[in-house]
Amino acid sequence: ADDVTLQLKWVTQAQFAGYYVALDKGFYGEEDLNVTIKPGGPDIAPAQVIAGGGADVVLDWMPSALASREKGLDLVNIAQPFKSSGMMLTCRKDAGVASPADFPDKTLGVWFFGNEYPFLSWMSKLGLKTDGSAGGVTVLKQGFNVDPLLQGQAACVSTMTYNEYWQVIDAGLTPDDLQVFKYEEQGVATLEDGMYVMGENLKDDAFKDKMVRFVRASMKGWKYAESNPDEAAMIVLDNDASGAQTEKHQKRMMAEVAKLTAGSNGALDVDAYQRTVDSLLSGGSDPVITKEPVDAWTHEISDLALK
């Protein structure tokens, strides 16, 4: 069997259910693949891992992948199981935020580590400065959790529809207390959790073949997870070595993630791609990327996989 190493963008959770299902249900084995899944974490930059040769495929958000590409790292998107973005900004109504017009002079929690690009391009679209100057917004580097919102240190924090939002809810705030801004609805959605490989590897036919089988099995896993969310969540739970995840949270996460992957067959939607690129290019004085990327994606693999 051929060895494939997959580097996740975050710790083991239902966000990556498709891959764990494919592994657990033997879909990879059917394709004669021997897949190792490496969980990520707050200090793991998937792009760096693949550059160091620690993985064959990585999951990354497109803004970060394209930014890395501009840094000279030849990352190529070969498949895109997530169709829509799960990112949103969750605000407390009692902090006085009802619409983006209320943002000025508020403190907003943002994830950095390459995850800040969608937020930055949204703000530049709104014409708000993020450097702390008057009339702009004050940005906090948000930690792992939603504490700043709960404790009133920030008016809004970044959340994913499938994860942090529910932590806010679990903590005791009700949806009525909250005002959420989904990036999808604000027209600043960017593509999340795509599969990326090194461009030069794609010149190797054996590697390409391996990836075709990998994408095919992974998508099979995703579709299985979408239709059997609870079982998928339990598979994820079994694979969590830290033993810290809870069943309730993972099942809920799986249900939310299924909404984001629904409708994707794995092939990159070129329109969505262009939307992402445009929003990243239009970053005002400090755009995330400065020129139209070339060869940043290919349908070669997904086309063969979907045949």
Binding site: P42, D43, A45, A47, Q48, A51, G52, S64, A67, S68, K71, G72, L73, F112, F113, G114, N115, E116, T130, G132, T138, V139, L140, K141, Q142, G143, F144, N145, D147, P148, Q151, Q153
Partner: protein, 278 residues
């Protein structure tokens, strides 16, 4: 290949030179040149290896690239330095070492505390920073106060252990002398125990000086305003701007070494009498 070869030749040459220099009569100039040459050698070797093996700049940038980035980013680096070093590390260092020092004296004074506080103190201070940092950020907010708190927790234990050990360091005859004077506790402390403890205390301060910087930087990984050395490092790693990361690390290394150096100088002045200083 050429690069590798050059690197090795340069290395050997410098090594030979340092050996020669270190045999010469010690003086200030040589004390400065030798480490400089050593450092230079490492940098040149680094440059050669990166170029020779064509290591991707997103893994390890060359020293020249780092230097260029450093030169271009002085204002940012300065803001970060003030935020992390001056506000976070320094204030935490002073508070933490001060608290540990006082605790050590309390522990030393009372055998009850000695028996009770020392084990518990060890325990509390052994709480790993990685775990403490998020909690302290939660308690003290995002700005430098929480970083200082992390530093306090981090430096407390090394300082405590060293001071407690140091306070035991005076020898029997020296203590007997104090007894014959009917010296009070406080007098024996200031005139004998503290001076005798100084080598240990400075040991602690030196170790803490580096810990303080690490602590302040690491704490910023768990939430911070958008400035500070730790913030910059974690953000730029994610952006694969490794040259900026290393520029910050350079600042950290320079600031940390200078901090350590200042403490070592004070130590030299204060413990001139200790055999290790002669």
């Amino acid at each position: 290949m050429i690069w590798i070869l050059c690197g090795i030749i340069f290395w050997l040459a410098m090594w030979a030179m340092n050996l020669r220099l270190s045999k010469a009569k010690p003086n200030k100039l040589i004390g400065f040149i030798i480490p400089t040459i050593f450092g230079l050698t490492i940098l040149v070797l680094w440059e050669c290896v990166v170029r020779g093996f064509e290591i991707s700049p997103v893994l390890l940038p060359t020293p020249t690239a780092i230097a260029a980035r450093f030169g271009n980013s002085i204002p940012i680096l300065w803001v970060d330095f003030v935020q992390t070093f001056v506000k976070g590390a320094l204030s935490g260092f002073i508070l933490g070492c001060g608290a540990a020092f006082l605790t050590a004296i309390a522990v030393d004074r009372s055998s009850f505390l000695q028996a009770g506080l020392l084990p518990v103190g060890n325990f509390v201070a052994a709480l790993p920073i990685v775990g403490m940092a998020p909690i302290l950020v939660m308690w003290f907010g995002f700005d430098w106060q929480s970083k200082a708190a992390v530093v306090v927790v981090m430096v407390f234990f090394p300082m405590l252990v060293n001071t407690v050990e140091g306070l035991k360091a005076s020898d029997h005859m020296q203590r007997d002398l104090m007894k014959t004077y009917g010296a009070g506790y406080f007098q024996a402390l200031t005139k004998l125990r503290l001076p005798a403890a100084m080598p240990f205390i400075f040991n602690g301060l030196k170790i803490c000086s580096t810990l303080a910087l690490i602590g302040a930087i690491v704490a910023e990984f768990f939430g911070s305003p958008i400035k500070g050395m730790g913030f910059r490092i974690s953000t730029e790693v994610g952006r694969l701007a490794l040259d900026m990361v290393w520029a910050e690390i350079t600042v950290a290394a320079i600031a940390g070494s200078a901090f350590y150096g200042v403490i070592a100088l004070i130590e030299k002045a204060v413990t001139f009498w200790h055999p290790s200083q002669r």
